[in-house]
Symmetry: C2
Subunit: 172 residues, 2 copies
DNA sequence: TAAACTAGTTGCAAAAAGCAAGCAGTTGAA
DNA sequence: TTCAACTGCTTGCTTTTTGCAACTAGTTTA
């Protein structure tokens, strides 16, 4: 439990907590896909995470304050994983990573539409999105006037999926 | 050499290239510390990277287009590693990671002063810094009017180091 | 009451990271 | 001209992490 960090550099410390192949993927699925249970995270995983690694990452992320876990009142075995302020504040990093990936990597259209919207919306949209994640995950009061960024991102994604299902030759 | 990616998600693809414990550390040292040779990267490494891992990462990053390597004309054995446009565009990610690390992790004052300046300067400063990295690494023509962001970051760092050397009890 | 579903475990193989030492070629000073 | 120091790595070995597949104990639903 005694964590000795390699250095006090903020980039290094961020990397020590998030710099592996799965931690950010798990947080991404909770954040953008609203997957809150173990099975949802396991079975809907685009990248196919293994159950032992998912279990390990969830445990580690809870220990380190990036996620919280509560029992689901509707099912004695289910746990509900939620973002914390610490992970909600990763939104700008996700947005920048998405923008970079879109520019330099062979992304698919379907999976990059959300990154595009986040990039185009810029910091004001990120702030709205973070406020909304606080409603979803931290029981913050909902701002009645605001349209949902979360829903907008999901709708855009589903629209692309539907369009590509209709004309599968144009996919990717 | 046949790279099969786990998915076409931009965040995943970024993670597949940079999501390990050392790649971004190496790029950080080249970018902010202007370390251009193998030995410089090895011996001045704050985190103590091993030589075999450094060799492997340099090779991988060159293969993947994040660094380029040229022979140093002044020494037959030396290679000079440079950033590419692909890695220069990581500046916003570094800035956001630095800001996040400063907020949530136990950073040291000395090593976080640059992150603080980048955060305060915002995107306009990042753009200036990227322009300057293009001069240093891509042989872009220097803009004569601009004061150097790189020098400013370094000066701020050295100032903190000097201050803490004078009053070592206040050091983190 | 049995099938299906829940959150994980367990055991083992493969890959990656980490450590310490070594190496062939190059340079610069005596 | 010779030798120590320096160059970018490499090698051999151990430890840690990842990945795969099967399995488990308890819970819910039909």
């Amino acid at each position: 439990m005694n964590e000795a960090y390699r250095s006090g550099c903020p980039i290094n410390l961020t990397l020590e907590v998030l710099g592996d192949r799965w931690s950010l993927i798990v947080i991404r699925d909770i954040m953008f896909g609203n997957r809150r249970h173990f099975r949802e995270l396991l079975q809907n995983s685009e990248e196919g995470i293994a159950s032992n690694i998912l279990a390990d990452r969830l445990k580690r992320l809870v220990e380190r304050g990036l996620l919280s876990r509560e029992d689901d009142p509707s099912h004695k075995q289910k746990g509900i994983y939620s973002l914390t302020e610490m992970s909600i504040r990763l939104v700008p990093i996700f947005a920048e990573m998405g923008a970079w990936g879109r520019r330099f990597m062979p992304v698919s259209e379907e999976l990059s539409i959300r990154a595009q919207l986040l990039e185009e919306g810029g910091r004001p949209l990120w702030e709205d999105f973070m406020a909304e994640l606080r409603v979803l995950h931290l029981h913050a009061p909902r701002d009645p006037g605001k349209p949902s960024v979360f829903d907008r991102l999901r709708a855009a994604y589903l629209e692309v999926v539907a369009r590509n299902a209709a004309a599968p030759d144009a996919a990717e």
